[in-house]
Amino acid sequence: MARRPKLAVWKFTSCDGCQLCLLDLEEELLTLAEKLQIAYFMEASRAVARGPYDLSLVEGSVSTPEHLQQIQRVRRASRFLVAIGTCAASGGIQALRNFAAVEDYAAQVYDRPELLKVLAESTPVSQHVPVDLELHGCPPNKHQVLDAVVAFLHGRRLPQESASVCLECKRRGNICVLTAHGVPCLGPVTRAGCGALCPTYHRGCYGCFGPKETPNTSSLSRWFSQRLGQSEADLVRAFRQFYANAKAFKKESEAHEYIKGG
């Protein structure tokens, strides 16, 4: 029998939710465990096999001095490296600290902030090492994670989602929450993949799958301010959420932060 490829799952700064997508696979998880050797996956197993690993899934952002070395070690030990979820792909919700002074944040939360060893910014894996594939979403759809693993097993490229959440609303036949109900919705600028989960339940999208390809954020901001009466501060917060650190959203939030002659 041919050697089974080795799978490793790594955690950096995160909530464990993305690796949980694997455990959520249930019966498919057992099939995966037959096709792959689960070599390092601390959320699932205390069995540890030495590297190198054929496929590494990395969850979480790089946010401590230790991580800087750790991510290099993971890269060196991995043939194919996939960043899974918003934290690994963009820095995550904890990247909100990139817009503040981390010392101030630490002092607000901890009695003895001097004991913390943290970096000034929370950053995506790709900022430190080459990444072979990024899966977006907070969390990603578990079928996307499964697709990525299956694509790896068959040596097939995984097509990247370029459409917006709007397309998923159209497919589901949703009434547009933005145009019909005046609910601020980031759907037009957000990458598809969630199946338009929030708009389907009459909520505005808050962008947790990140910016789509070539998002027209300034046009959406004009919509929000001119038609929905949103303030500049509202616009800053709208783009400064789970993908605050993504280039397109960062640029848009900063545009509204500085306009007010702050």
Binding site: K11, F12, T13, S14, C15, D16, G17, C18, Q19, L20, C21, L23, D24, E26, E27, L29, L30, A33, I38, F41, M42, E43, A44, S45, R46, A47, S63, T64, H67, G92, I93, Q94, L96, R97, A100, V102, D104, Y105, A106, Q108, V109, Y110, L116, V118, S122, C138, P139, P140, N141, K142, C194, G195, L197, Y206, R237, Q241, F242
Partner: protein, 151 residues
Amino acid sequence: MTGKKTIKVDYLARVEGEGRLYLRIRDGRVAESRFAIFEPPRFFEAFLRGRRFTEAPDLTARICGICPVAYQMSATHAMEQALGVKVEGPLRDLRRLLYCGEWIESHALHVFLLHAPDFLGYQDAFQMARDHPVMVAFPSRTLPGTMSSCP
């Protein structure tokens, strides 16, 4: 029981978060115990400042990927307390249902995938599944959907 024994676990497996444990045992008694949580801080308490109160539940839901509803619900209760709002009737019942759903999901995850391997002498659910496949496949066969927190 006499003699010395040291138990050292550098990375605790099958839990949410990151921790290590060190125990020194002498004559059957724990002489020294050290437990370290090295989960990096994410500063939720700090970045929540200046946000609209309506944003708190979505943000705090990301504290833990295994039990997001607990944090979401706590944030919701905190906001309601601050505003002096009391929620009753069908809405309260729906929330209870959502919370119970998470309990079932989280408990099933812990019982079958995270803890059972320890009690039965396996390193993980994959090894356990070879002898007891129904324990790992159980959730999808008898409790449809309860193990799926991902969309």
